[in-house]
Subunit: 297 residues, 2 copies
DNA sequence: TTCACAATTCCATATTTTGGAATAATATTT
DNA sequence: AAATATTATTCCAAAATATGGAATTGTGAA
């Protein structure tokens, strides 16, 4: 690893991640690369930067101090390469780059953005939908929406709403196989699964009291939540899906909610934008609009 | 050029040099690399950083401003990699260990070191002269001088000067046996040989177009180039010796240069120092002084 | 205990870097 | 004015370096 800048970047990201794997995902590189970079940095510094074994990492005291300084200096150099877009920041005109989870984007964001676009036709909305969280994306956006709070001073964040997760199935499936009375009974019922793109594995279903359950045998699986939802509508199996995807279908009684008594505590959805530089008028406009339209009342 | 840190380093050095070639020498890289790095940086910045043609460079106004900031941030990052010196590295006092080839050491290095020692009497110069490969790491050398580039990222190297190799003999020997008109004729003339301490064999003489010739019968041989030179002065035979040993004697007409038309391409002499750890002030001082006094003009 | 998974190592493969050779352009010398 | 020398540049084959899949090791959880 001769590229010291990348070395620092990897280290700093790792220091803020819960595992090298997570850091690797955020940077869009392989875990091996993280291992290598950290090791090399440790060699250069002559200091252990992480306590780690095969199952756990923990940044050392020295590592933490180093990360603090390195982060700042890294930012300073990165800044040199940000081609200062000579954009007229005070116009209500121009591009606004937004990133959000796929399902939420389709169901909730699009309606609001379409509305906005009608009111302000000069806006050029650039929407990136992805369920992964990638640093590279964060660096190139004006506004982001994601689940979970972001502890990162480079961004300012606001809570938008809470997301409930429902276990649902189509009415005819329930007629055929009945309702599960407990989490365990899911093992004997047909289910569909949502694939985590990072790992290729299924997302575990979550329930109250931090209980989890991961489907083993599925009737259908996909990394696309909406494809899964279609499968569920057509009676392929039970699924756990977020409220914003389910609401319409529940109201139309095309889906039925089950296991309501063990539903997990709702997740928080946040909207955030980078702190960097002056915030162009148009970004503030879109940000404020999204906050007001998507917030819990 | 993916390594942005090196890109900045090259650009900053170029901005302070009178030519890309000079910058390349100072960094121990090729001029092509400088061209490439600057070009790439210009592409990234979308700005012309140098006015230049094939004979001249001139940093632009924008380039100069950029260099000013970049230099500072580069320094900040570099600093992260200088492991905090627990030893009194910041004094202009203390030992500096230098390794160099014997002949070069006597003729070229000593005058400069004596001068340095006068200016900075606190310096303790430890000079190791040897024509064998020295293990720079094990021997804890601070500064080394050797022929040929060292491709080892643990060191930073700079080209010092070029070394020409002359075939010479004393005037009276030439009167007696005449001048060789070709390399082959050396076989029938008295020669002296220089022993390679590593192998015990004679160093081959080198000529243009990669031709080599190894003495078989010699009148005198030694691993000490200056002993050989004395032999040559006293008419023992022809010898191939580096310019810095011959120059004075040639000027005084105590030696005569022959076979000038087949002299080899000059060799490059490099000075280098370990990258690792903090570079003590005194080492930097000596290094820079040697570079400035021993460089090709 | 077994299982699952993260960190790591190894290594073949892919990518990037490198500097020599050739070229082009211009300053300096003849 | 012509010749010479030098420098920036481009191109390309070779060398150096980075990359990630496969296998290994170790650990926490079931």
């Amino acid at each position: 690893m001769l590229n010291r800048l990348e070395m620092l970047r990897i280290f700093c990201t790792a220091a803020e991640s819960r595992s090298f794997k997570e850091a690797a995902n955020r940077l869009g590189i392989s875990p091996q690369a993280v291992t290598r970079a950290v090791k090399e940095l440790e060699r250069l510094q002559g200091e252990l930067l992480f306590h780690r074994n095969t199952r756990h990492i923990q940044v050392t005291l020295i590592g933490e101090k180093f990360a603090l300084i390195a982060k700042e200096r890294l930012r300073a150099v990165d800044e040199l390469f940000q081609t200062s877009a000579p954009d007229s920041g005070n116009e209500l005109q121009g591009r606004v780059r937004i990133a959000a989870p796929v399902g939420f984007g389709h169901k909730c964001l699009m309606p609001v953005l379409l509305e906005l676009s009608t009111i302000h036709p000069q806006l050029d909305i650039d929407l990136t939908l992805s369920d992964e969280r990638v640093d590279v994306v964060d660096e190139k956006i004006d506004i982001g929406i994601r689940i979970g709070f972001m502890r990162d001073s480079r961004f300012i964040a606001r809570q938008l709403t809470k997301i409930n997760l429902y276990v649902v199935a189509s009415p005819d499936l329930i007629n055929r196989v009945g309702r599960p009375a407990s989490i365990e009974e899911l093992n004997h019922l047909p289910v569909t699964g949502l694939v985590d793109r990072n790992t290729g594995k299924l997302w575990p279903w979550v329930f109250s009291m931090d209980r989890q359950w991961t489907p083993s045998i599925t009737r259908f699986r996909s990394a696309d939540a909406e494809a899964e939802l279609m499968g569920v509508q057509n009676g392929l199996g039970f699924a756990q899906i977020p409220d914003f995807l389910a609401q319409d279908l529940l109201r139309q009684e095309k889906l039925v909610r089950v296991l309501e008594e063990v539903e997990p505590v709702p997740w928080d959805l946040y909207i955030y934008r980078p702190q960097r530089g002056p915030v162009p008028q148009r970004v503030r406009l879109v940000f404020d609009h999204l906050v007001s339209r998507l917030s819990v009342r």
